[in-house]
Symmetry: C2
Subunit: 289 residues, 2 copies
């Protein structure tokens, strides 16, 4: 959890592969290959959900040559990891340009968790269209779900929006439905940790709730993510293992215990939003259905 956000996890994984290459001592390409295989296996185990992690490791390991010298392979690993991060930032910029067209002047946009620059290499995914709409002088307002348990909305998304001077209101996750029902939300944009071939979206816990409520209230619900988040090997969201995290994240807030001492909690970190709730995917290729 030092690094969070699918694209940021992807870029970190790419750099981790390059670092593993740099750390190898010796000139034996066969041993180098075994070392890299072990390193990649280890990096793949760092987090279970964000697909960008696997995408980045596959991207890097596919580009490190197995026949040339170790010195050459190390150089290529560094170069390609930097290219991966640049490509990731560029994908987020394009997400902003394509997604911005969906946001009309005067819109209120609801977002969940933090899918901003702090979760990516730059620009963000869900926040990128919001940023570009603001650069384009559209008057917009953002409803920021605080996103319990870790409050990434209240802490990170709000901070990013303040830096850009974008007007917003933090709300408790319980209030998203209220503002939708009152007609105060024009559209939702969220990020994703993984998207299956069927279009099911694995994202921060609570995303499914907001997607159901958006559909119920006739509000478009968009998922913004680079193609590196699309898992081509998994069809259904139900196949993806959901990380259950420490109950202390629920029982304590800011280090202070809020629940009785004998109480227990369950704390799934992500949920699955089935494709039927998603109006479209904003990627670096455009708005895809």
């Amino acid at each position: 959890m030092i690094v969070r956000g699918a694209p940021a996890i992807g870029a970190s994984a790419a750099f981790a592969v390059a670092q593993a290459a740099a750390e190898f001592r010796g000139k034996d390409m066969r041993k180098f290959g075994l070392h890299m295989k072990d390193a990649c296996d280890l990096i793949r185990k760092a987090r279970p959900t964000a697909y960008d992690l696997f995408h980045a490791v596959d991207f890097l390991s596919g580009r490190i040559p197995s026949s040339d010298s170790v010195a050459e392979a190390k150089k290529i690993a560094v170069k390609e990891s930097m290219a991966y991060a640049d490509r990731s930032a560029e994908a987020c910029r394009k997400i902003g340009e394509f997604g911005e067209k969906l946001i009309r002047d005067g819109f209120s946009v609801l977002t969940h968790c933090n899918a901003g620059a702090l979760a990516c290499v730059d620009y963000g995914t869900a926040l990128s269209p919001i940023r570009f709409a603001h650069y384009d002088k559209k008057k917009i307002h953002v409803f920021v779900d605080e996103t319990r348990p870790r409050l990434q909305g209240a802490k990170l998304t709000s901070w990013e929006l303040i830096q850009e001077g974008i007007g917003h209101s933090i709300i408790v996750d319980n209030a998203a439905g209220y503002f939708m029902q009152k007609g105060e939300v024009d559209m939702c944009i969220v990020g994703a940790d993984r998207i299956t071939t069927k279009g099911d979206v694995i994202n921060k816990i609570g995303t499914y709730e907001k997607a159901v409520l958006a559909k119920e209230n006739g509000i478009p619900f968009y998922v913004a993510a680079p193609r590196s988040t699309f898992d081509s090997a998994t069809r259904n969201g139900a196949e993806v293992a959901i990380e259950e995290r420490s109950e202390d994240e629920v029982l304590c807030v800011g280090g202070v215990r809020v629940a009785p001492i004998d109480a227990h909690a369950r704390n799934p970190g992500f949920d699955v939003t089935p494709k039927r709730y998603v109006s479209g995917f904003i990627t670096e290729r455009g708005v895809e259905k």
Copy 2:
């Protein structure tokens, strides 16, 4: 907010009327009548949403005689306020007996906020059927929404369930949909602050979200409330003013600020769950549609 929970607010209002009567100095019944009218008007303004407040004031003021002596009127006020509280506790007991029949052995029940003994005179509303199912030796498990912003679920409902030895898991409000989608929730029971003639339910913020999610997942969603919560003068939930509370409840948790210093929040205290999401009302008369 010293007193919370619709039935507890009702009983407190009844006692407040009796206290106002006791405080009157003099023997002039006309002046006593004016004093009581002013007192009742003031008590009605204490909280805007919970209907039990108005019900209790009407109940008491309708029983205080206007023709006999002030001394007699004071006695009756005390007696009737105690009768009101007893009747309220008895209503909650009956809610438990009727509601318990809906809970099958092995059920997982989700509840929102605190609608337990701590919100009532005794037994609670939503928690009363859960209590009686437990007394009846049914194996049950309760999912307790923590209920941001004030965390009444994590703090109060969990505490009440621990006292009874009823197994439960606190979850963030974002996770209710996750457990419903996974088939881990068999039914929902919540309380109410006000129920309109059409059957719209005004209750703690987030209730609407959980009701929509329950319907989407085919899970029965019951509202437990005494008849004193039913507002016979209001047809639609949209007519009821929703209290917007201090933004500090959202921006700070346990006295610690979690949001950036320049951030703002919106904080509606209640929401409206339209009748179509409610499977039934558990009252002291039985389970009503």
